[in-house]
Symmetry: D2
Subunit: 291 residues, 4 copies
């Protein structure tokens, strides 16, 4: 894709950082709904004083918030006092490449009916992989902070050997934890052994539970139920990275006095600049594909 | 699977080691075509003096060589003076669980027609994953041996980020190489970055080729052709782990004086005991599945 | 040393955890100045209701706080409402093995005049080495928390390759940082290279300073003066682990808007249980030596 | 030191590679006793056709072999047909900076009496540290080659936590071994734990000996005597890196059928180019110091 103009409407700190990177890489960036991002005003290649219509008209690529909306009515604009209604916005966008995060199906369909190509960043595999780095690091920070032991030398269980599990185990090993990984499939167990961690089949989890100092869950399914919680050491810390409903019976954990930290959306919180760089890489991949 | 008897016919050093492990784990093992494996004679639980018919009749599970046959006529029996014809063997096997490696389709079909369940170990994903460890270690041994530099501090390119590529990169990093990984897909590039290696897209490989001290190829497709070979440092070592036809233009490499080591089937050569243990784990998974 | 009785007077959370460990290992522990440590009351082998005189009389080994005193008048007793004057305490201790942390010379001499063997835990080399683990982990927590990037992929400079520098570099590498280490001596530079980090001589530091995302200082001498601070990236984070006066011109850093975290005594804060275990190991070494 | 001329007399492949590097770095190099090193003839900045007297006269710095002599009569000149007697050589060298490896005391004194500054490369701490990398890698190659298991997952004991022990443990860990380190001093044990390896005190070695797949010794003292050899697994591999007399009772090991590889001088064998680079770094440090 040869174009060098990008329009950006709303978004959080990651989007602000993304705009700085895009401008630095030579793109002309037209912004709306970001007037409180002071840093952007210092850069002449970033245009911030146009109307919404003008910003939309300025380029073929429209980048909207990640996630697009939290309340289903307006898009997310934490760097603006303005409320931008979803319906009003999308009715104006036609024949564009529209990029945002977590776009609802009905919105996607409406945009496509108006001739737009719609790309949801949250469904890009490479971005999900890159984000595991920030998630893993955030989890490690929590583990250091919330325990009275060093992670080095602690027994840490990672539940689930998917994307986050793989990178988390790799980093935990790197700072000296004794890493155990739980999985169900023979192939995952083989990978866990090939990487040098202790492998535990889900159906044998019970008999291992009393040895862990920290358990980090990545599986969005209720694994740590009442019965399993009963097996934990009393000062075992649980960090749950799984999205709703999580993998821990929170009510039971509370009753038993087990500390559980439910940590979601770590990348944006832990490392907004790195997240912006990962979004940029994904964008450039998208630009290559649609060219 | 409750049975504790296993019949084993032919096979190499890995099979001999496997028999020792199975016996140690409590199985009664009946062997044929392994009479020159001296160690097996010391163990009373291993029965080695029966006829082929008797061995087949002794248990429901038949384990045959890995690979099953090299010449398509007889099965592989390096620990025996006896030649066992494939046709003759398989005509006797009925209603068994038959396990071997690299079984040709027509043989598999004949066995199935006789009521056997046929399992090819070489098509088990978990064994392929576990074997990457031995392959990676063998490649590292070659790299240390065949270069005049330490791998520590050398620039090493791993071509392909599949099973072997992943574990190889992990180990190379572990002994201090500067690891570069080549891939084509955006997702693989993201994984390479998430693990902390230098990522190189195949279409940008050319401009990086002159910096590597060692290149290890895992892709069974001609990547290092004449044009790319021209870009290499004169003392760059190439190790090709890809099965036929390999990924290197061997003729051109020879003409240019570039050292290429084509290293196949490393697990059995580098680490027969570990290979036997991996086969055992895979067997036990199989036993669970067919129970 | 055959004795199995230990008297412990005052001390912080590490001492409380140490008492639990000692009791668990079979020692009878007599405590004074720790009445607010609730956990200790649950264990019958820990005696907490004696007078100071009785506690001193109960065993040949006296363990006092680490550090012994913060104000030079009373010993540190955060788990007690009682103030224990140094003079009063040490006048009562005779012919004992007296163990504490950071004991002033004059106090040491007085104790020795009363026939005590005096051992300062803070001067035990093995404890200093073990504590580097907690210090390094604490520094990594701060680095993750206080930057908008992931440490993975960041350029991190460790200044000084002494005890803390060595373990810090090791762990930073483990979570994927690009690790640079600064040193003055040729031998240290050789070690840095042998471990696989980027080595920078102090006298060449200047020309590298503009590339770091994080700088962690372990040298108690003013290295980051005004001139060097001017070379840093504007969002570079400095973590100073060096004890007074530290290695950073704090006033200049503040004026230039550079974020500096001065982090002292991390082991007790980050990982009191691990610290207690390290103290225990050191104690047992001492017991061996004095037996 | 501003001079840019270096005279080099005799030496092995490392010296040949060193000459190439020095020439590449801009030095004029005058050689004698290296006429069979073909590569050197291609480089015009390397002068190879002078007499011994002329070579000595050509520069202030004389580099002689590493080690200087193997038989005490002539210097080592594997790349020459000429025999150069030590006495004859050193009588001609006056008021120079004389650099070689393993120089006997009496030779050193004679050279100093003639006004030479004498530097023994083998006594340079930084070179010893750098060389640990090659030694460790060579040991790992042997371990992969001489065992029927992968090092990954094997239990490997490193005896001695000095220079080689430290880097060897680091690399073994890196390729996935279960690393145990033996030491005597509390401080070394603390370092071993801080780096995350299993620590074993020498006086508790006996009870651990039956679990190791590989033992690598770095201590030049008879640790593995008959009694300890009796405790080993029958297929345990011993690699002895300690210089004469080594740390293994070779006769007893042979009788018991235990495989011992006595591997000396690995750096020059495993990685002559890297060794040459390490010598170069050390030379440049020397040049700085004598300037």
């Amino acid at each position: 894709m040869k174009e060098n103009k990008i329009s950006i409407i709303g978004g959080d700190l990651r989007i602000v950082k993304l705009i700085e990177i895009l401008s630095h890489d030579g793109y002309s960036v037209f912004t709306y709904g970001l007037e409180k991002a002071e840093n952007l005003k210092k850069d002449e290649k970033i245009v911030g004083d146009l109307s919404l219509e003008e910003v939309i008209a300025s380029s073929r690529i429209i980048i909207a918030p990640i996630p697009f909306s939290s309340n289903g009515i307006q898009i997310n604009t934490p760097f603006s006092d303005e409320k931008i209604a979803i319906e009003e916005l999308i009715s104006q966008i036609k024949n564009k490449i529209f990029i945002a995060g977590s776009i609802k199906l009905e919105i996607k369909e409406k945009l496509e009916q108006n001739g737009n190509m719609v790309i949801d960043l949250m469904q890009r595999e490479e971005l999900a992989v890159l984000n595991t780095v920030s998630t893993a690091e955030g989890a490690i920070q929590i583990a250091i902070e919330q325990t009275a032991r060093t992670i080095h030398g602690s027994k840490v269980l990672v539940m689930g050997f998917g994307r986050v599990g793989k990178i988390l185990a790799h980093m935990l090993e790197g700072i000296g934890a004794n890493v155990y990984c739980e999985a169900r499939k023979n192939t995952d167990i083989a990978w866990i052994k090939a990487y040098g961690y202790q492998a535990i089949y889900l159906n044998e989890l019970e008999k291992h539970l009393d040895k862990f100092d920290v358990i980090i869950n990545t599986i969005p399914s209720m694994i740590l139920d009442e019965k399993r919680l009963d097996r934990l050491k009393e000062d075992c810390l649980i960090i749950d990275l799984a999205s709703n409903p999580g993998g821990v019976d929170m009510k039971q954990a509370k009753q038993k006095g087990i500390k559980v930290i439910w940590a979601l959306s770590l990348p944006g919180k832990v490392a907004p600049i790195t997240s912006a760089e990962f979004i940029k890489e994904t964008l450039y991949n998208i630009f290559q594909e649609v060219s």
